[in-house]
């Protein structure tokens, strides 16, 4: 088993935290994982990218080479990385932030607003990706999210990660997303 995930957007969207949570949850689920990141010198704004490789084997090259899933949370991120995906790979974009054709638009931001705050859209995405890649049990993912967020925000984040999972499970078209 090998899953390569690339998440791109801009600084401040919690993209790197999302990558960290997925990688850590994968190791908690008994897999190998490497999480890498790229960003510019700005702490907010500017391009940011997180990559996660999850595998049942030791991982040599730590970067994503042919992503199974690309998530774009910004137009610039989609424009740069949206085409570079494995043949059977999936491209996901945030419905509210990216205009693109032939990809799966997911309401990460809108769903985050519905569960309470736009700021947890990255956690909604984590829940969605966890369900999509099917190698991390949801309870492991949820406990990893809770271990990586500020105290006092547990309820909000638990709702967000669960709402993300449900977005995938209840997606229109069932298994036929690509």
């Amino acid at each position: 088993m090998k899953k390569e995930i690339r998440i791109c957007g801009f600084g401040g969207q919690g993209i790197i935290l999302a990558g960290v949570v997925l990688g850590e949850a994968a190791t908690r689920a008994g897999h190998r994982a490497v999480q890498t990141q790229s960003y510019g010198p700005e702490s907010r704004g500017g391009a940011a990218r997180a990559e996660v490789v999850i595998s049942s084997e030791p991982i040599d090259y730590p970067r994503v080479s042919r992503p199974d899933v690309v998530v774009a949370l910004s137009q610039a991120g989609y424009d740069r990385f949206g085409k570079d995906v494995a043949d059977d790979g999936i491209v996901l974009v945030d419905e509210a932030l990216v205009e693109a054709e032939g990809v799966t638009s997911v309401p990460f931001t809108t769903t985050a607003e519905e569960v309470g705050r736009k700021i947890v859209s990255n956690v909604v995405m984590v829940g969605y990706l966890g369900a999509l890649i099917e190698v991390i049990p949801h309870d492991v993912l949820e406990s990893t999210v809770l271990a990586n967020i500020p105290a006092g925000t547990e309820d909000l984040n638990r709702k967000a990660v669960t709402a993300g999972r449900d977005l995938w499970l209840n997606r229109a078209g069932g298994n036929d997303v690509s």
């Binding site: 960290v20 999480q35 890498t36 010198p41 090259y61």
Partner: protein
């Protein structure tokens, strides 16, 4: 562990033995498990997380962390702390490493045990702060002026950030020399699973204290081997510490060619003569291979990917990974090259260690470079292409 510090107390601060941790933080863990009790530094991307982790962890174990005004002061504080008995280190990146060259030379000349982690970023100058590079490798060897030897290690994983930083502290104490941990922005910011060592896996090598009484003790005379015993400040011994050429008493002897030669020869030989003992390489040799890779640091991960791809295509490829880079493991590299026609060296620079490899091989095999700068690490396929079609001539 050192002094009042015991393993249980350390692990209470570091957390569980198995973690999904970042390379920089892992360097901090390795330092603490290596007995570090003093850190001085100045924040710089991509090494800042080392300082942050040390600031969060070390005071809880009774150690001291100082944010200095710059990198010159950082290494100077580390050198002072080492003479006061600490196992001390600093962490920086390219621009800071340049400033530390003066202190590195001073530490070599005064035989001060100290560890410097360089999380290399793309240069020259301030370059690309957030992007990884391996552009400081020859600066590590020759950045400070004058004849000297350096010990340098190159982690290729987050686990090795723990293991090699820990090792660096022992080597620094044993050889009384600066030890460099040459990581990079990719390994430094990468997260992987690590396993921290168990209590019985930890050995702390200590500097040797004086065997003579105060008054009889000669601070820079190597009585056993070529590393002198070290009289820590405050233990009753007079030790004059200077970067000037000094005699065995430590007193300046700047116009004495014989004393200078004897001193500098000893400083160089104490490391160089122990190259075999300091050599750490990982060899993956394939019978019948005519082409090999010599790699180090993050580029070794690209190389391992290239070996996997090439072998799946039915090609025979051998691979040697340098874990210790200096003193350069000449013999190990020569043994590895035996029977190979070509050796490919992948590096995140325009060619540095490839030259050292070439010098070591003395024409035994052709040396070719796979070079990349600008921020992305080397895709394995670029190395595969060089293995098949040839790389850049060195």
């Amino acid at each position: 562990m050192s002094r009042e510090r015991d393993y249980r107390r350390v692990m209470k601060v570091l957390g569980s033995r198995e973690q999904f941790a970042q390379g920089d933080v892992a360097c901090a863990y390795g330092a603490i498990l290596g007995g570090c009790d003093f850190f001085a530094g100045y924040p710089i991307t991509p090494a800042t997380e080392v300082a942050e982790a040390m600031a969060a962890l070390l005071p809880r174990l009774g150690g001291a962390v100082m944010q200095m005004e710059d990198e010159i002061a950082s290494l100077s504080a580390v050198i002072g702390a080492a003479w006061a008995g600490s196992r001390a280190f600093t962490a920086t990146s390219g621009p800071g490493f340049s400033l530390m060259q003066e202190g590195i030379g001073y530490a070599c000349m005064t035989e001060t045990p100290c560890v410097i982690v360089n999380v290399q970023r793309s240069g020259p100058s301030t370059g690309q702060p957030t992007e990884p590079a391996q552009g400081d490798m020859l600066q590590a060897r020759w950045g400070t002026h004058g004849d000297h030897e350096i010990i340098a290690l190159a982690p290729a994983s987050v686990q090795e950030c723990v293991d090699l930083t820990r090792l660096a502290f022992n080597l620094a104490e044993e050889y009384r020399n600066p030890v460099l941990v040459m990581t990079d922005g990719e390994v430094g910011h990468m997260r992987e699973q690590i396993v921290l060592p168990a209590e019985d896996e930890i050995e702390l090598v200590q500097r040797r204290p004086p065997t003579d009484e105060p008054g009889a003790f000669v601070p820079f005379r190597a009585v056993q081997g070529s590393v002198p015993e070290m009289a820590t400040f405050g233990t009753g011994f007079h030790t004059y510490v200077t970067g000037l050429t000094h005699d065995e008493r430590g007193l300046p002897a700047t116009d004495d060619a014989e004393k200078h030669t004897k001193l500098v020869r000893r400083l160089v030989d104490k490391v160089r003569d122990d190259t075999e003992r300091l050599t750490r390489v990982e060899v993956d040799k394939e019978e019948g291979a005519e082409v090999g890779i010599v790699s180090y640091g993050i580029s070794a991960r690209s190389a391992a990917g290239a070996v996997r791809i090439a072998r799946a295509e039915g090609r025979k490829i051998s691979h040697l990974r340098l874990i210790s880079v200096f003193p350069f493991p000449e013999r190990a590299v020569r043994d590895f090259a035996n029977g190979l026609d070509r050796i490919v060296v992948p590096e995140l620079n325009l060619g540095q260690i490839c030259h050292v490899v070439k010098e070591a091989l003395e024409g035994e095999a052709a040396v070719e470079l796979v070079s990349r700068i600008g921020g992305e690490i080397i895709p394995p396929k670029e190395i595969v292409r060089a293995l098949v079609e040839g790389g850049e001539k060195v």
